[in-house]
């Protein structure tokens, strides 16, 4: 074969040569994540990256995962050399937000920041030093100081609302999810509150392939979403009416007797008896003295007697718990009350969800509801859901209704079923590092032995505790004693200090079924001490003084907007630090920007997720640019500076609000394990080796072995993250499906009733009429009179705001923020494709370009999020239009599993279905 010749051909050949290849990935909070890449370097500069395509096949007959990656990853190298890259420590010299900075030395920056921290501790207490928990794994080590000082870190889950409150309320599990290759096995996939064509670029193929394999795909979305185009059916459901749709399907299934009776009896609370007089479960303390408050009962139809529902198992051997009827029960005080199974109440409750009636609520034809209900009842069905539903005010109800649909039809705990979301795992090595008593893996073994002993101690108090319950109890105890850097649910801080009080107390932002104001619910929860351990009272008086954001972008992310924070929070802050490899909007409003190494310049791992089950190496391909440093190095240097400045100022210790005395000496020794783990490479290797000890990674895994293969498949869940919520044993040659411990082994759930719980008899839930999942319209937050509802979701073009300013990517869309509008509706309003429009709610307004499409629902404005505020005129962006209101039921903190744990149950703001008006912008001036 003649070789194509000529100088031109050689020039092209030359472009595709390199002198070095390393494994790479992106240690960012990318929730698909987990992509193994190769990074190609020539003459000391990163040329490009390419997916390695190297993931071994897992289960026979299931497509492999290759080649995981996306367009953002394919030009991440471009961000390394982008004009928004920061390579020197910067100190603000103009007013905040002016963007005027001057370069300073690392020592000066760190000393001044350390002094800011120490001033704050002295003047307002350690609770005034706020660190934000941005989940970017690569940035986490920059926050080491908060871990050793025990200053509070805000639970990021409230900031980005990636929580499925309704699923938690049902299962007591945080996002039990399958691996993505399990999607292939579904016979019916409902893409619902998700847009995987945008958000799961490297995994979407499993949906397409499940369809080619004979499965059916139905997309349920208000708009003809990009994830509807490859579906078999699209149900254009009215915005926020999904619960009604799910419940109507439940009604069809119950009426037709298509529900899985045994699954319902065994896995759910629906056979448990509820008192007709109070609407509360019949409890042990009702029935006899000395019985447990959390003992619940069913009626066994075989023996015709009242039986305690076993707490140690889900098995219903020898009994047939009633799902219907009414029974008389003698209470311990001699009274006789009528009780009925929760299922009986559900059946009555579902009378409101007749398909004909629901058709008018959801704007979905009754026949379509019936047809889909029968399909769900007869097929292995998976709900492909994202983290969209939880961002609706009534997202809990939507998710509880979806879970009910799956529960009635037995659709969890076997392959090809369940509800997809996302869950993190495998962080043990990183999280436990500073708690080891020295370097090396024997120290890791001692630590883990201690943790296991603690669980044994817990189990001694209650032998029916499952491993999952022990894990959760241990996490609760750790949180209460302030372990793990004192992560706190930030809602109370926000209410008292961030300026949200007025908005959250505004009844227009709430459902009319709440008889009291938000403030009354909040004060009751605080006064009753439901959140005592979590700083609920501290911020009534304590003002924040220091804010440290490493890897995140608060002023882009926080619902409620830049304006609110800059007006209410910023004046209280004396030191604001952005640790980042780029200048974000938050960076522009900071006092200091510390330059972090980019992802191919440091050691790290991609977001470890249950979805792919791989620990994926991000290696260092080139040294950090300019003066930038790896996050771990920044973290250690900041601890060193705090210790140095404390010594110089004669500060040796301080007391936190819980009375715990915290030392300001020996901090560096603690984080570096007596100096042994000082540099990044050593630290990362130690993390990996420890993970192997903790059983999370295969025995013998080290940085060196990772450098050979680029990744290692997880071998166990570990104790940090949501691994244990998967409730299934990992198998090396099978797709992972959650819930198998419950469904196959009959292990109880960690809910109040120890079953999947659809009936929640908390007094506030009863008061709101939400003891069973129901449909409620989204409150008219944003303005009752406004004609549009704004919806959102992750976009296709960036990871949050990361990569949004990459000019390769900017050239693949309109190169500026835009909103989708229905074409005909926009035309009637005099808005043409490409026009600048003004989107206004009661709390704010933004200017944005209009994109017109028949795919957008009339009355809907779709703004995919992630645009930097500084990409908008006047820097007014989407979050400025969102009130950031919170549903009061999230404040329940005293009920079984409705209790705070990190990254779990807590009050979270809503941002979907905000009422707005849309008009063609007539003036070009920035908004005020």
């Amino acid at each position: 074969m003649a070789r194509t010749s000529g100088a031109w051909a050689e020039a092209y050949r030359k472009k595709w040569t390199w002198d070095k290849v390393t494994w790479g990935s992106h240690s960012v909070d990318c929730y698909p994540g987990g992509c193994p890449w190769h990074v190609y370097v020539r003459d000391g500069k990163i040329m490009r990256e390419e997916q390695s395509g190297s993931i071994p096949p897992i289960e026979a007959g299931v497509p492999d995962m290759n080649p995981m990656g996306c367009q953002k990853g394919a030009c991440w190298s471009h961000c390394h050399y982008s004009p928004d890259r920061v390579t020197q420590p910067l100190k603000r010299v103009g007013p905040r937000g002016s963007g005027r900075f001057e370069p300073i030395s690392w020592n000066q920056a760190l000393d001044e920041i350390a002094d800011g921290v120490l001033d704050a501790i002295r003047e307002q207490g350690p609770e005034s030093v706020l660190t934000l928990l941005t989940p970017e794994p690569g940035a986490a080590p920059a926050r080491l100081f908060a871990q050793v000082l025990g200053t509070p870190t805000t639970d990021g889950n409230a900031e980005f609302q990636d929580f499925s409150p309704g699923f938690h309320a049902t299962w007591g599990l945080f996002n039990p999810v399958s691996t993505m290759d399990d999607w292939f096995g579904a016979e019916l996939t409902l893409i619902w509150h998700a847009n995987p064509v945008y958000t799961n670029i490297h995994w979407y193929h499993y949906l397409a392939e499940s369809r080619y394999n004979g499965g059916e795909v139905v997309t349920i979305a208000p708009d003809y979403s990009p994830s509807a185009i490859h579906a078999d059916y699209h149900l254009p459901v009215k915005i926020g009416s999904d619960a009604a749709l799910a419940l109507s399907m439940c009604k069809v299934i119950v009426d037709a007797g298509l529900y899985q009776k045994q699954f319902v009896q065994e896995q759910t609370d629906l056979p448990l008896l509820v008192r007709k007089d109070t609407g509360r479960f019949l409890r042990g303390t009702d029935v006899s003295d000395g019985e447990r408050e959390d003992q619940f009962y069913w009626w066994d139809t075989l023996s015709g007697t009242l039986n305690p529902a076993p707490r140690h198992t889900l098995a219903t051997t020898g009994v047939d718990p009633a799902l219907a009827g009414s029974y008389g029960v003698l209470l311990k005080d001699g009274r006789r009350v009528e009780v009925e199974p929760a299922f009986e109440r559900l059946r009555r409750h579902l009378e409101d969800y007749d398909p004909e009636r629901v058709a008018s609520i959801c704007e979905v034809h009754a026949d379509n509801i019936r047809t889909l209900a029968r399909k769900v009842a007869t097929r292995k069905t998976k709900i492909f859901i994202g983290w969209n539903s939880g961002k609706y005010y009534h997202g809990d109800l939507i998710e509880r209704s979806m879970a009910l649909l799956l529960g009635l039809t037995g659709n969890w705990g076997k392959k090809g079923t369940g509800a997809r979301s996302w869950a993190i795992m495998g962080l043990d090595g990183t999280a436990f590092m500073a708690r080891k008593d020295g370097p090396g893996q024997e120290a890791a073994q001692r630590l883990i032995a201690g943790m296991i002993a603690m669980r044994r101690l817990l189990a001694a108090g209650d032998p029916t505790l499952t491993p999952e319950m022990m894990q959760n109890r241990a996490a609760e105890v750790a949180a209460e004693i302030g372990g793990q850097g004192a992560v706190m649910p930030p809602a109370f801080l926000w209410y008292y200090q961030y300026g949200y009080k007025e908005r959250w107390d505004n009844p227009e932002n709430h459902d009319p079924s709440f008889k009291r104001s938000f403030g009354e619910y909040l004060e009751e929860a605080v006064e009753k001490g439901w959140w005592d351990a979590r700083y609920s009272k501290v911020y009534r008086d304590t003002e924040p003084r220091v804010l440290i954001e490493a890897g995140g972008n608060l002023l882009r992310r926080q619902r409620g907007g830049r304006k609110l924070l800059v007006e209410h929070l910023w004046p209280k802050l004396k030191t604001i630090v952005s640790i980042d490899y780029r200048i974000s909007t938050t960076g522009l409003y900071s006092d200091y920007i510390l330059p972090a190494a980019q992802h191919y310049e440091k050691l790290g791992n991609s977001m470890p997720s249950v979805h792919h089950l791989n620990f994926v190496l991000c290696d260092r391909a080139v040294p950090p640019l300019g003066e930038s440093l790896p996050d771990y190095e920044i973290g250690v240097r900041l601890v060193e500076a705090i210790e140095r400045r404390a010594a110089a100022r004669g500060m040796t210790e301080f007391k936190d609000c819980k009375g715990t005395v915290r030392s300001l000496t020996g901090l560096v020794k603690q984080v570096t394990l007596n100096g042994a783990i000082r540099d990044e490479e050593k630290h990362f290797d130690e993390v990996v080796r420890d993970n192997a000890v903790y059983g999370v990674l295969p025995k013998g895994t080290t940085l060196e072995t990772l450098r050979q293969k680029g990744l290692a498949r997880f071998t166990n869940w570990g104790m940090v993250g949501h691994g244990i919520s998967q409730a299934s044993t990992l198998r090396p040659d099978e797709v992972h499906t959650p819930f198998r411990w419950h469904v196959e082994d009959k292990v109880p759930y960690d809910t109040l009733v120890r079953r999947a719980q659809f009936y929640i008899d908390h007094e506030w839930f009863l008061e709101a009429g939400e003891e069973l999942p129901g449909h409620k319209e989204p409150p008219p937050a944003g303005g009752r009179h406004r004609r549009f509802q704004m919806t959102s979701g992750h976009n296709r073009w960036s990871i949050h705001s990361m990569n949004m300013t990459n000019d390769v990517i900017l050239n693949t869309h309109r190169g500026e923020p835009f909103a989708f509008l229905n074409d005909r509706e926009a035309t009637r309003l005099g808005i043409a494709n490409g026009d600048k429009i003004r989107v206004t709610s009661d709390v704010g307004s933004m200017l944005i370009q209009a994109k017109l499409t028949p795919a957008c629902r009339p009355g809907q404005v779709i703004v995919y999020n992630g645009f930097e505020p500084y990409m908008h005129e006047g820097w007014w962006s989407q979050s400025d239009v969102e009130p950031g209101h919170v549903k009061p039921l999230g404040l329940v903190g005293n009920y079984g599993h409705l209790k705070y744990r990190i990254f779990s149950w807590q009050p979270i703001p809503a941002d979907r279905a905000v009422r707005v008006d849309v008009e063609k912008a007539t003036e070009r001036s920035a908004l005020t």
Partner: protein, 347 residues
Amino acid sequence: MKTVHPSKRQLAWVFDLNKCIGCQTCSVACKVLWHGEEPGTEQEWWMTVNTQPGRGTPRDWEAMGGGFDAQGKLRLGKVPTDEEVGGGWRFNYDQVLRGNGDGVRHHLQKVAGSKTWGMNWDEDEGGGEFPNAYFFYLPRLCNHCSQPSCLEACPNGALFKREEDGLVLRDEEKCRGAQMCRRACPYKKIYFNRMRNVSQHCIGCFPRIEQGVAPACVRQCPGRAAFIGFLDDENTAVGRLVGKWKVALPLHPEFGTHPNVYYVPPLSPAPLREDGSFDEAAPRIPPAYLESLFGPAVHGALDVLRAELDKKRRGQDSELMDTLILYRWKDALGHLTRDPAEIVWNE
């Protein structure tokens, strides 16, 4: 008169439009690999994905002419203007991020005078009327045609078709920037590099192919929608999809150039009747529209797809569906399965 340009073997691309999700990974992979920051190439996107129906890139390219008429006579269309190609945007980073204390008075935007169109300007807009809107994604690159009109039109003999794999390449030393190729190409996938005064188009990743590595657009497709292989090899997915099952069709066959990029046409969700119930029998995407893109053969191809899909739904085997499922990703790459990271270059 139309000349025949036989190549011994022809390499072909297949894109499964039922798997393509418009993510632009192919486009970006190509852009970063072959252009990077090179001045003169700002507007060049040899690989693009557009939402159909739409005006595409270059804007309204389908009406610009080129190719051969029914008699095989070369037709010269128009050269797309820079404005129609669009993109190449630069942004005012320094003004916003390193300005002089102006803060919110400046926001990040394209610098003045930027083009008002881009390579994916009408992304996710499509056609129809809500709730029966419709759209799908169409990836496009040089078709490496068997009857390349660009080659025919070039006054400088710069273009040639490789014998061994049928790639249509350009000797950039011979190219004088006459841009007749741009007039003649009916797909308007040829760009002009003003810095070097040469036209440029997809080089089929020939340096990769020489090393046994699949082109970037194929190897980097995370949707597993892209396939490559020799047309005459029925052991490859490409050979099976094009030759055996005939479900992969060229775009605008009426342009007369015999393209070698093939598409598995899109299925679509059942449309809704006026009352909101599903009309299972009716197509959502108008068949006439699909025919306008892929010719009359599209109807038969869709029938085959539906029939084979139905087999799987009834629990039967289907070689076609299994090919499209692509159990092992490397089966998409034909003979080009080498991992590029294994290559060690010796100068």
